[in-house]
Symmetry: C2
Subunit: 410 residues, 2 copies
């Protein structure tokens, strides 16, 4: 018998009616002869409600207690979904992270999964039951409730699929799959039938939030086939799979963008070993995550350093860097929070040259100034003025002919 | 060092402001040099919200899943209260029923406590922490989440106080303590400084809902001193303690009433062994709890049987009894859901005669007809027409001079 792990996000179980619809879908899968393990997130809005309560009481809430509070969102969802499945006439049984025993380390609010004991789930499946598992949560060796960070339910699903050697891990979401670009920006955007793990990791970390990047990493490491699809339709979505030779025939698979960052430049820094370490050490200590960093060659012993941070941390980061600039005698600190990062992603870049140049030329033709550039083996990212985001995405989608691709095994 | 267990109900932690006030009170107790273990209920309204969600999905929800859902209410409350205590500058740590290990049987929605492992709580106390424990919930030997039934947080508090050999178990509520009668009905009602376990059990089961009857039974069995007091004032409340000889000097300690029952009478039942067993067996199978039962001596081989049921089960019970009446050839089934039960309670009844007669005379003097009578060693209950409730309570309060008692060691 085949075994499928299905993950439903908060929107898919946002109210009683949606929970009932998801339940019917699950029961159909079971009746079609498959064993089903379901991972579910908290009902849409619930995690935010709980976070707000916690923040009304404490500015920076103790993370152990925060996990105790947040884990209840998924616990309610598994109970309600089990009831809905039972009402549809199938057998179901819910499991909290503690009950499955999804063992994690004890880093609260961003714990890592160490081990999953699937015996209780297997037992439920042998009894003909559908197993409903709380996403996002685990338990430490000391019986503490832990959570895996935002989007952690994806990780729960993939890790369970790996531990159970499931045939496929289906991630149900509110879009039809992974697109060549955001369809709300690019009308000709096309749903990708397949995408490689590597490309999906880049897409996820570049702002295309259909799948948590850590979950894709995990899927890649354990070679779990992931199927991203809509809980509101029966259409096939996008399969996230291991790269195959056909995939390299396509230069660019998709265009991603991210408008949630801000840029900081510190000018005329003395070019001395240890300065960058000091700068980014301070920023990290303040809990600010830096994304892109660009430093040019130095002139007359001085250099400029630019980097991007989450827009929500922009003011905090500016204050901190201004203080540091005085300490190290830099010239000035410039900030800009009206930027966007536009990226092209594709495993084909490894074997096709000139992809980056083609991107820069396309942007230049539209008079879009490139403020920062960052590249990896399979992606090129450019920071541009925010107001050009839509234009840039559409231009790149056209230039790389993403609307017309159908050959190449995709 | 003395150890106090404090229990706060849902109203006391009904919103963020109240949680913060309760936190300050707890921190004061700790700073005064006591070890503190706190038991907390779900925020007011939360349990009902969760129940409603479950009932929207399933008419009679699976009780295992219902417990998984309901237990989250207390889990949120312990987390928030711990955060509020930490924000007040003291150390706190929350415990779910699973984490303490409040071991129960596996009768979901009304589990019984089998054992409490207090080692983790003692460890937290040794570390100078205030322990915050989720009320109402436990865990079965199979790691299932269980709940103890409505009012179960009182039971959690008393059972923890017993297991920890606490000096006192303080039950914080929205009233000042236990009164000789409902102060909203009887302006001269007086707060009792002390009441015996036996009296409190009768008061609780007769509708005076300041304390769950099962919790008082437990306190009696383990001789836990319980202090019922208000979370909104500093006043001393009512101590629930073992009976002492002084208490018997008072004939009646309090007047209770209950307007949540309905009466069913089945007339001209053949007076044959097994008929009553059949009748009440069927009612019990339907999950309906019967309170009072009255059967008079039979005349010409027939008898009438009257009993009371919760008003919410009235229609279900009537249908069931009508069917049964046809089966056993009874004459007719009469129902009345506009009744009230008024009761006098006092350990002094054991040694004072004529208490019941005095009650009946007082009601008769006001032309209040008594429809059913039931007695125990320390209480007399009368079922009367609902519209006379307030009058009856006031009359009995006067007749037994409850406003003036101050002697007798109370």
């Amino acid at each position: 018998m085949t075994l499928v792990v299905q993950k439903y996000g908060g929107t898919s179980v946002g109210d009683v009616g949606r929970i009932q619809r998801v339940a019917r879908r699950i029961v159909e899968t079971k009746r079609a002869g498959q064993d089903v393990v379901v991972v579910v997130s908290a009902m849409a809005g619930e995690t935010d409600r709980l976070l707000q309560l916690a923040h009304e009481i404490a500015e920076s809430p103790n993370e152990r207690e925060l996990d105790v509070i947040l884990a209840t969102g998924e616990q309610v969802a598994i109970g309600l979904l089990s009831l809905a499945i039972q009402a549809s006439g199938a057998k179901a049984r819910s499991f909290t992270g503690t009950q499955v025993r999804i063992l994690t380390d004890n880093v609260h609010t961003k714990a890592r999964i160490l081990n999953i004991d699937v015996e209780r789930i297997r037992q439920a499946l042998r009894e003909g039951k559908i197993a409903i598992v709380a996403g996002f949560q685990g338990v430490s060796a000391e019986d503490e409730v832990t959570t895996l960070g935002r989007g952690g339910s994806d990780l729960t699903a993939v890790a369970l699929a790996a531990a159970l050697s499931a045939d496929v891990c289906e991630i149900y979401t509110d879009v039809e799959g992974v697109y060549t670009a955001d369809p709300s920006l690019v009308p000709t955007a096309r749903k990708l039938p397949r995408i490689s793990f590597e490309e999906m990791i880049e897409m996820a970390s570049l702002g295309t939030k259909v799948l948590q990047a850590r979950a894709v990493e995990y899927a890649k490491n354990y070679n779990v086939s992931v199927h991203v699809r809509s809980s509101f339709s029966e259409n096939r979505g996008t399969l996230v799979v291991q790269e195959d030779p056909d995939m390299e025939k396509v230069m660019v698979s998709g265009i991603a963008y991210d408008r949630k960052e801000a840029k900081i430049t510190i000018t005329r820094v003395v070019d001395r070993p240890g300065i960058a370490a000091k700068l980014f050490g301070r920023v990290a200590e303040a809990g600010i995550v830096v994304d892109m960093i660009v430093q040019n060659i130095s002139q007359d012993g001085h250099t400029d350093i630019s980097f991007t941070v989450p827009r929500t941390d922009f003011h905090k980061a500016m204050e901190l860097v201004k203080g540091l600039a005085r300490e190290i005698g830099a010239d000035q600190v410039l900030g800009d929070d009206r930027i966007a990062k536009v990226s092209i992603v594709g495993v084909g870049m490894r074997t096709h040259s000139g992809v980056a140049a083609k991107m820069f030329a396309a942007l230049a033709a539209e008079k879009i100034n490139i403020m920062m550039i960052s590249t990896s083996e399979i992606k090129v990212s450019c920071v541009i003025e925010e107001k050009y985001t839509e234009l840039a995405v559409r231009v790149l989608h056209d230039v790389f002919r993403l609307e017309s691709q159908s050959a190449g095994g995709r």
